[in-house]
């Protein structure tokens, strides 16, 4: 509880008949970068606006630093927002934009000048301080928006898809810059994005949202390695799903499952699901090994034979789609050795697919529609 700096408690919100936020509860710790990650329309912006006071929740409370701020008006909250399209004031110079908050708060001129100077330096925009927003590039505007919010020393900085309007290269650069700024200022960041790689690279914690609910909260590695729902598994990265029932307990942690139209699979069953339980297994493509020769057989390793259907060479890795039985498995082979020395795997080759039981993960929740999120639905 000590660490729960910002708490969303049972937040619900309807627009007309549409339930946009459905009883959402989660804590954000002080100083961390917390991401709300989910597809467009899942309610991320609404949640952020509720935190900023620009939207009123139908239910629930927002607690910041021990204070219930649910009924505070936006100007009374110690949070500031970097808006999706920056919302810079077009009739003000860069300097006046950044000084807007301090001036409104009635700081003395000397303090305003020195703080504006500090933040102009921080975002490396000092030479542009007398320009107007329309004279700046997208990346520069974005930096102004960040400085304009941060100068007020908010307890939490809310960022609504701050990089979405930038092109790929700039997005990656700004991401690093954001990270640097976070390291220097130390403010808690609540970061909204629909881009999983963005969330993965900057966040201490990620909450994956879907249709107004939070599906899973965890560190990027937890979310990626141990997704609890099919939505999380499919939305973040790619994966392979298997549906089956537990058929045999090999030891306390290893079981075998029997999919309906696939040979038995050995899985890591740390949840101790008993025989007969219906389970859903998710295995990331890069966890699967692909080889032209049969690998060493260990009783516990899953080994299946298949045919290569598709190959996409991506330089640092190659993506394969291999059919075994009725399944089409997606496999990623990372290239850590010099590729040209190996005998290549070609289209229609017979290959061996193998993986360790620990590399699959049993989901708590599965929805068939989530398969549509995969690159190639199974």
């Amino acid at each position: 509880m000590m660490n729960d700096f910002l708490i969303f408690e049972n937040i619900s919100k309807k627009f007309g008949k549409q339930q946009v936020i459905n009883n959402v509860t989660f804590p954000v710790s002080k100083g961390e970068v917390f991401s709300l990650l989910g597809p467009s329309g899942c309610g991320k912006t609404t949640l952020l606006r509720i935190c900023a006071g620009l939207e009123e929740p139908d239910n629930g409370r927002v607690i910041l630093d021990g204070k219930d701020i649910t009924d505070f008006s936006p100007n009374k909250r110690q949070v500031n927002t970097v808006f999706q399209n920056y919302a810079l004031f077009p009739h003000m110079t860069v300097r006046d934009n950044i000084a807007f908050g301090p001036r409104t708060a009635g700081w003395n001129n000397k303090k305003i000048a020195s703080e504006v100077h500090f933040f102009l330096e921080l975002i490396q925009m000092s030479e542009h301080k007398n320009k107007y927003p329309h004279q700046l590039s997208g990346g520069q505007r974005q930096r102004i928006a960040i400085a304009r919010a941060l100068i007020n020393r908010p307890l939490v900085l809310l960022l609504d898809e701050p990089l979405a309007a930038l092109d790929l290269k700039l997005r990656q650069r700004m991401l690093i810059e954001l990270d640097t700024i976070h390291d220097q200022i130390g403010t808690t960041f609540l970061f909204v994005t629909h881009d999983q790689s963005e969330a993965m690279s900057i966040s201490d914690k990620i909450a994956v949202m879907n249709k107004g609910v939070i599906e899973q909260i965890g560190t990027p590695a937890q979310i990626y390695e141990a997704p609890t729902t099919s939505f999380v598994a499919a939305f973040i990265g790619d994966t392979n799903f298997f549906e089956g029932t537990v058929s045999e307990m090999i030891n306390s942690e290893i079981s075998r499952i029997a999919p309906s139209d696939f040979p038995e699979i050995t899985v890591y069953n740390d949840k101790h699901l008993s025989i007969g339980t219906k389970v859903y297994l998710s295995i990331r493509p890069e966890k699967l090994n692909i080889a032209k020769t049969q690998p060493n057989t260990d009783k516990l390793i899953n080994i299946f034979k298949g045919t290569v259907e598709d190959i996409i060479y991506l330089g640092s890795m190659t993506k394969f789609w291999v059919t075994t039985q009725n399944y089409k498995l997606s496999i990623i082979k990372q290239h850590s050795s010099f590729l040209l020395d190996e005998e290549p795997i070609r289209w229609k080759d017979e290959v061996w697919i193998s993986w360790n039981p620990e590399h699959g993960y049993l989901l708590d929740q599965y929805a068939e529609t989530d398969e549509n999120l995969l690159t190639i639905p199974t």
Partner: protein, 287 residues
């Protein structure tokens, strides 16, 4: 780059040529003719006499007319200010309405134009008539004394001027407000501004062009108005427009009328020039 910009200059001149010739024929030449006419002497029968004189301008600035000139100025400025004060909130709320309601309100703003201007002014005469319901109610409530009048005074002139020109103020302000990004107000609120401060520091400066257009649209016809003071004003609410009409149609002193017109022109061009200067300054600030 240089040849490009000079090419642009030529294109600009070519594009504005029709407008320029229109202005020359229908504005510049008549204005010069009026000024020349104002310098001619005349006799009481309305005949022009040979030679030149400054008498007409001297008459204009004689003390008996100062009050009319002064009234013209303050009535116009006050009416313009009141029109703007009404139009800004109206434009703001119109821009925030849903598409459907916005169209309805826009329609309501424009609908008075479907009736002739003179008929609408006469309607006011009927509405405010001492035998009218409003007059009787006001007397009954003690708002005006029984011998008082709601009509034929300067207040009524201002009321009807505002009624007449309000749509001309609302439309440009609404057009500017419609282009305004209301997210900016949220940003201002987020940065600590109250609703009122956000409105004042963010909304108003961003619709400044609409405000200036609205001010010009009201102020200029106001300064020249003569039908309204003539119909609903009293002897104490004459404006320069009435003097011009009087000189031209009653006294038949065309040079005098021309002199008044020249003054009116100066009164209109002066604020217009000021507005233009402010506009240019604002634009310069932006680039």
């Amino acid at each position: 780059m240089k040849s490009d910009s000079s090419k642009n200059k030529i294109t600009e001149i070519l594009i504005s040529a029709p407008t320029l010739s229109w202005l020359t024929v229908f504005f510049l030449i008549p204005t010069i003719m009026a000024i020349i006419m104002a310098l001619r002497p005349s006799n009481p029968y309305g005949d022009l006499l040979p030679g030149w004189t400054l008498e007409n301008f001297k008459t204009i600035f004689s003390p008996i007319y100062i009050s009319v000139v002064w009234r013209t100025i303050w009535v116009s400025i006050l009416s313009t200010i009141i029109c703007l004060l009404f139009s800004v909130p109206v434009g703001y709320y119109m821009a925030r309405l849903s598409e459907k309601f916005r169209k309805i309100i826009l329609f309501l703003v424009i609908v008075p134009f479907w009736t002739n201007f003179l008929i609408r002014i006469f309607a006011w005469k009927l509405i405010l008539n001492p035998d009218g319901l409003i007059h009787k109610t006001f007397v009954f409530l003690g708002i005006i004394p029984s011998g008082g009048s709601l009509i034929y005074n300067t207040g009524t002139v201002i009321l009807v001027i505002i009624y007449t020109y309000l749509p001309f103020a609302i439309l440009p302000i609404f057009a500017a407000a419609e282009r305004f990004d209301f997210k900016l107000l949220e940003a201002a609120r987020d940065l600590g501004a109250t609703r009122w401060l956000a409105f004042l520091h963010i909304f108003i400066p961003n619709i400044s062009k609409g405000l200036m257009a609205a001010a010009a649209m009201v102020l200029i016809p106001c300064l020249g108005s003569y039908v309204i003071p003539d119909l609903v004003g009293g002897t104490n609410s004459q404006m320069v427009g009435n003097l011009i009409a009087n000189q031209a149609f009653v006294a038949r002193n065309i040079p005098m009328a021309a002199a008044w017109s020249t003054l009116l022109m100066a009164m209109i061009l002066l604020p217009l020039g000021l507005i233009l200067c402010v506009k240019i300054l604002l634009d310069k600030n932006k680039d």
